[in-house]
């Protein structure tokens, strides 16, 4: 929903995405639940209606995104693999980079918000040690405070 929100609305001053899917075509096969999303939400595989998958993939709507966005993935997340975020383009001229794991794109550095501390190197996804659960709050809150 974060990716959908920032590609369909400009009413938010900052946004944070924890994992999530940006490309439903690659998601069809690259997740550890192949076909789950298509069966649950679409009802057919990509090759039966390719354009439908394109329309529901934020990756292809990213030109509409203006909101500073903090992107966070676990490097060992098999459900929403980290490479899903690495394909997101980073606006040139912002000085933004895409480090492995903990990611930040586009406006967050541009607006003075801090980048994440680094990769969630050993994280498999949402199941993680207690110490790591608090980590998004340490990255999201300063980013939101800087942008909102």
């Amino acid at each position: 929903m974060t990716y959908y929100a920032v590609t369909h609305s400009n009413r938010f001053k900052a946004a944070s995405a924890g994992a999530g899917a940006t490309n439903m075509i690659s998601m069809y096969a690259q997740t550890d639940l192949p076909g789950f999303y298509s069966k649950t939400y679409f009802g057919f595989p990509p090759w039966e209606n390719f354009n439908f998958y394109l329309e529901h993939s934020s990756y292809y709507q990213v030109k509409n995104a203006k909101t500073p966005l903090l992107i966070q993935y676990g490097e060992r997340d098999a459900r929403c693999p980290c490479r899903r975020a690495r394909v997101l383009p980073c606006d040139e001229g912002t000085g933004c980079t895409l480090p492995a794991g903990g990611l930040s794109r586009a406006g967050s550095r541009h607006r003075g918000a801090p980048l994440p501390e680094g990769p969630y190197a050993a994280q498999p996804g949402l199941v993680r040690p207690l110490a790591e659960i608090a980590r998004p709050s340490r990255t999201d809150v300063p980013a939101f405070q800087a942008s909102c």
């Binding site: 974060t2 929100a5 009413r11 924890g18 994992a19 679409f42 949402l126 998004p136 939101f144 909102c148």
Partner: protein, 58 residues
């Protein structure tokens, strides 16, 4: 935290509310909720943030 269509707690029709329109219906519900809390004076419409994880981040 909004409980938008496609989530749980309101029966099967509600649960199926985002099938075939992933993103649009959920965001419409969230947007409606935001407008409501702004109207009530609970939220500042000029200082909105959006945070979600896992499927909700998609």
């Amino acid at each position: 935290m909004p409980n938008y269509r496609g989530s749980t707690g309101y029966g099967e029709k509600w649960r199926q509310g985002n099938v075939g329109s992933l993103g649009a219906n959920e965001f419409d519900d969230i947007d409606t909720g935001i407008n409501y809390v702004i109207q009530r004076g609970i939220a500042d419409g000029d200082r909105l943030g959006f945070m979600a994880g896992a499927m909700a981040a998609t």
